[in-house]
């Protein structure tokens, strides 16, 4: 009988089920129900209905949160390091290059094709070039990217960029160890104290990670990948191919 009563109890007042159990079991069922009604669901509405309302409200709240989250993500300002941009800010064409300092094809482009593009299109004000860090090969890629930003603080981003690409020694094999990165700064006659302090602080770590996330979001599957006024071009293509793509964009 007691078990039967226990099964019939609704959970509106669980504390009453356990502690003052003896007293409650002696109460008539109608009184228990009335008490549960007072402490549980509002009158005229079943618990099932209330659960359904709360579930629907939860879905609405989640949709609102997702909206806020997406709006925030898209509304955030671009994460480009200020010094990794080259050329006329009002140029008709903007090229974004997603690159990794440890990637051999990126080095091939940076040291072979890019200087010609720089001379023909960037210096003449036709093209604005934005270097984005797709530091996906490993920790040394991220370290190198941060070091370049630190060099940028002293106005030598692009010189350091060239130094890194011309000093590759394989992937994550110590070619871009902290000591090597400091050595590159010294060889470029940077203020080593300021550079070392910047590199040690990890202040550009977030920036590098954000670039990587944005590259993933925009479908960058390999490096180098370029966006010429938003149009995706993949690979270290020869100069003639870039010339064609840039001339088309400039028309």
């Amino acid at each position: 009988m007691a078990n039967k009563k226990k099964r019939e109890q609704k959970p509106g007042d669980r504390r009453q089920q356990s502690r003052p159990q003896a007293r409650q079991q002696s109460q008539p069922q109608s009184r228990q129900r009335a008490q549960q009604q007072r402490r549980g669901a509002p009158s005229g509405m079943s618990r099932g209905s209330l659960v359904a309302i709360v579930a629907a409200a939860s879905v609405l709240i989640v949709l609102l949160l997702i909206g806020l989250n997406v709006a925030g993500a898209f509304g955030r300002t671009p994460t480009v390091g200020a010094t990794s941009i080259k050329g006329n800010p009002d140029a008709k064409v903007t090229v974004e290059e997603f690159s990794d300092f440890q990637c051999p094809y990126c080095a091939q482009f940076a040291l072979g094709t890019f200087p010609r593009i720089d001379k023909e299109y960037i210096e003449s004000g036709k093209v604005r070039w934005v270097f984005r860090n797709m530091a996906r090969i490993g920790e040394e890629s991220k370290q190198a990217a941060q070091a370049a930003e630190c060099a940028g603080e002293q106005g030598q981003y692009w010189q350091y960029h060239d130094k890194l690409f011309s000093s590759q020694q394989g992937e994550n094999k110590g070619g871009f160890s902290t000591d090597k990165l400091k050595g590159f700064a010294k060889s470029l006659n940077l203020d080593t104290e300021a550079f070392n302090s910047c590199l040690g602080s990890g202040k550009y770590s977030d920036l590098i990670n954000k670039d990587l996330v944005e590259g993933n979001q925009r479908g960058v599957n390999g490096t180098p990948t370029f966006f010429i006024n938003g149009r995706k071009v993949e690979g270290a293509l020869p100069y003639a191919e870039f010339q064609k793509a840039l001339d088309t964009a400039l028309k």
């Binding site: 959970p11 504390r15 669901a41 997702i66 806020l68 925030g72 990670n209």
Partner: protein
Amino acid sequence: MSSEPAAVESQALYVLSRAVTPVLSVLGIGVSGYLLWVRLGGSLALCTGVGGCETVNASPYALIGGIPVSLVGVVTYLAILALSLWRGWWGAPWMVSLVIFGIALVGVLFSIYLTYLELYVILAVCPWCVASAVLLVGILADSWRQLEI
């Protein structure tokens, strides 16, 4: 006389059943608290061996209205902990169970969205975030049980 051991057993089960959500909430506070600490510039030591914590935590999706998702997680778990303690040890109206259910449901649905982002947008998986999602599923299941519809 024979009903005494049964009563003790019943009391133990009662206590255990009330402890599920508080225990999961405390674990959740630990997990999201750690992620918040990482977000605020703490060490990355427990993340680097496993993978994408850093990438996920630094992504533009790691904020809701300018507030770190991990902070929202800490507050959510704290709220669930307080409500579940109220329900389990000091007695509380059934509506409190309903509120816990609602919070847990929001948490689980939002975790599904975050897991989708990790897998298909950010392309990096943070094991701590997955752990938090699992804890929320546990809390939701327990809160459903407590509703006893």
